[in-house]
């Protein structure tokens, strides 16, 4: 039987790391290490000697991993190469999901695939969550701007909140713009005038 594969996950966010670990546990029996800090990364890898390293595509420490993947000599190679160069679609699917994997030289494709599939699924989940969070934040930000614009109008024209919003909405419709955009312009203009 093949030996249990060792997987290292480099991820600063603990919740995120835990979710990836869960995904991998569902996919098979692995020895899993998580690293939250890129300091001393080379040493950690040399000690752990992982078969697979998983990391966010946009993590700045990736460039350090690139070096480790390519620079080490034949006797000390911790992580030797990128994902099996013959499996371009899998490489691409991983990039699109935002995960990058470094795999020890000579590891068979059929042993790598379940690991990557699990990581890709989890990273996709994170991308969705991140997008939802960004959308929620943007909506909240727009609400704040609209509230400020309403307050400016109420004060300048002596109207109530409802009338101020109606005025914003009418202006937006007349100009073919969104209420938030008009509110933004108003807040900026008011800032210049005071």
């Amino acid at each position: 039987m093949d030996k249990r594969l060792a997987i290292m996950i480099i991820e600063a966010d603990e919740t995120r790391a835990a979710t990836i670990v869960d995904g991998l546990r569902e996919a098979g029996d692995f020895e899993i290490h998580t690293v939250s800090d890129s300091a001393g990364l080379a040493r950690r890898i040399a000690e752990t000697r992982p078969d697979v390293v998983l990391i966010d595509l946009a993590d700045p420490s990736r460039d350090i991993l690139e070096e480790l993947a390519l620079a080490s000599g034949p006797t000390e190679r911790p992580v030797a190469m990128f994902v099996d160069r013959s499996d371009a679609p899998l490489t691409r699917a991983a990039i699109e999901a935002g995960v990058s994997a470094y795999v020890v030289d000579g590891l068979r494709g059929d042993r790598i695939k379940p690991i990557l599939d699990a990581a890709i699924a989890r990273f996709h989940m994170f991308q969705r969550m991140r997008a939802e969070l960004a959308a929620t934040r943007a909506a909240l930000e727009e609400r704040k701007i609209i509230d400020r614009a309403k307050a400016i109008l109420m004060k300048a024209r002596g109207i109530d909140e409802e009338a101020a919003y109606a005025l914003l909405r009418k202006t937006a419709m007349d100009q073919g713009k969104r209420v938030a955009e008009i509110a933004q312009q108003l807040v900026m203009a008011a800032g210049l005038l005071t």
Binding site: P60, D63, E66, L70, F82, R85, D87, T91
Partner: protein, 389 residues
């Protein structure tokens, strides 16, 4: 008018200016383009996103397509360098420890003489010298390896440190020195933990630093769009090399969306007036960074070969074949096709002897004359690929 949207990846450095300025000052819009500028945090990320088609083009280290051509990266569709975006812009910084030893040995931090600095390092270094560079396949790596090699320093180790972490690594004593693109060397000086020893241009007068990369299938499959992109960027480079543009460029680049640092920091590299020590000593370096003049944007195939030669040796590959492979990725043909009609001066050949010009030289070009910028190495090294192109 309907603008065609293009997603361009960049890493926040002063040499991302050609992309950012093309967007901000309307050179993109003049060509009917709207740029979505995507700020990236790692070079590997840029390469992978370009390969997977998540960005259309990217600001990338000049040796990266060379490494990719030699199979030293993931399995991704091929990409090419269409034009250079910058020359120079790098500086070598040394930590407090090494600074003190260099001072004790009488070194004056003139920020100019690479030979003297190399000798001083040889005298001052104790044990293995550890030098940080932003990426294994970078102009910084070539500069360091060449300079230390010629200076007779054999016991050194070059390691990758992401630029924003350079100052931390130096302070923590993980490296003794580093070579990085601005503003990250100046950033370490401002933190009070580094002194600047040399600009990249003191080692090699015109070191090509960043290039505009695009996937080959897109560059060849959509020539009209590729031409528009190249022209927009080329005009941006031309604007950037007017001396009066640099202050404004620093202001634009420093904004929160881009570098998100004080404009004064970006301005140092862009104007070539660098603070070399935390004590406030400044040095003037004409042409510290160049974007356009002296055919700076022309992607000489001989430069692909120059980088390929060292990378091949470092990875046990046969140099001649590596050079041949790399040269195919520097697209002088697309440069001629798209930028010739826009007014770019075109050299007669696409490869040359690198390092041969001690001074600027006027040569004949396709239309009349053109000036080639001095490109000498500090030690007189010359490099000629063993075949024309």
């Amino acid at each position: 008018m309907n603008l065609t949207r293009l997603r361009l990846g960049y890493v926040p450095l002063i040499d991302a200016a050609p992309l950012i300025v093309a967007h901000e000052l309307g050179f993109a819009a003049e060509e009917g383009l709207a740029f979505d500028l995507v700020r990236l945090t790692a070079w590997a990320q840029s390469r992978d996103m370009l390969g997977a088609g998540m960005i259309d083009a990217a600001h990338m280290l000049v040796p990266m397509p060379v490494a990719q051509a030699l199979g030293l990266g993931p399995a991704l569709p091929e990409f090419d360098l269409l034009m250079f975006l910058s020359q120079g812009g790098q500086a070598i910084a040394v930590g407090a420890d090494l600074t003190a030893r260099l001072r004790a040995a009488g070194h004056e931090f003139d920020f100019r003489d690479a030979r003297a600095a190399g000798l001083a390092i040889r005298r001052a270094a104790t044990g293995r010298l550890r030098v940080g560079v932003p990426f294994r396949f970078s102009t910084q790596h070539e500069l360091i390896a060449h300079w230390l090699g010629v200076s007779g320093i054999t016991d050194f180790e070059v390691t990758t440190v992401p630029p924003p972490m350079m100052a931390d690594a130096l302070e923590a004593g993980e490296v003794d020195a580093f070579c990085v693109g601005e503003p990250w060397a100046s950033f370490a000086v401002d933190r009070g933990i580094a002194a600047l020893l040399l600009p990249g241009t003191a080692i090699w007068a015109a070191p090509p630093e960043k290039g505009l990369m695009m996937r080959r299938d897109m560059a060849e499959g959509r020539p009209e769009l590729t031409g528009r992109l190249m022209r927009a960027i080329w005009r941006s480079c031309r604007w950037l090399d007017r001396p009066e543009s640099r202050g404004m460029a620093a202001e634009i680049l420093s904004r929160g969306d881009y570098l998100n640092l004080p404009p004064e920091l970006a301005e140092r590299g862009l104007t070539g007036r660098l603070l070399v020590t935390p004590a406030g000593e400044t040095r003037r370096t004409p042409r510290f960074i160049a974007f356009h003049d002296g055919a700076a944007t022309f992607p000489w195939k001989s430069l692909a070969a120059l980088f390929a030669a060292r990378i091949a040796r470092g990875h046990g590959q046969e140099p001649e074949q590596a050079m041949r492979r790399a040269m195919r990725h520097f697209r002088t043909d697309l440069y001629r096709q798209h930028l010739g009609p826009a007014g770019a001066a075109l050299p007669g050949a696409s490869a040359r002897i690198e390092g041969a010009l001690a001074e600027d030289r006027e040569v004949s070009a396709g239309k009349g004359q053109m000036i080639l910028r001095a490109d000498a190495f500090f030690d007189g090294r010359i490099f000629e690929p063993p075949f024309p192109d």
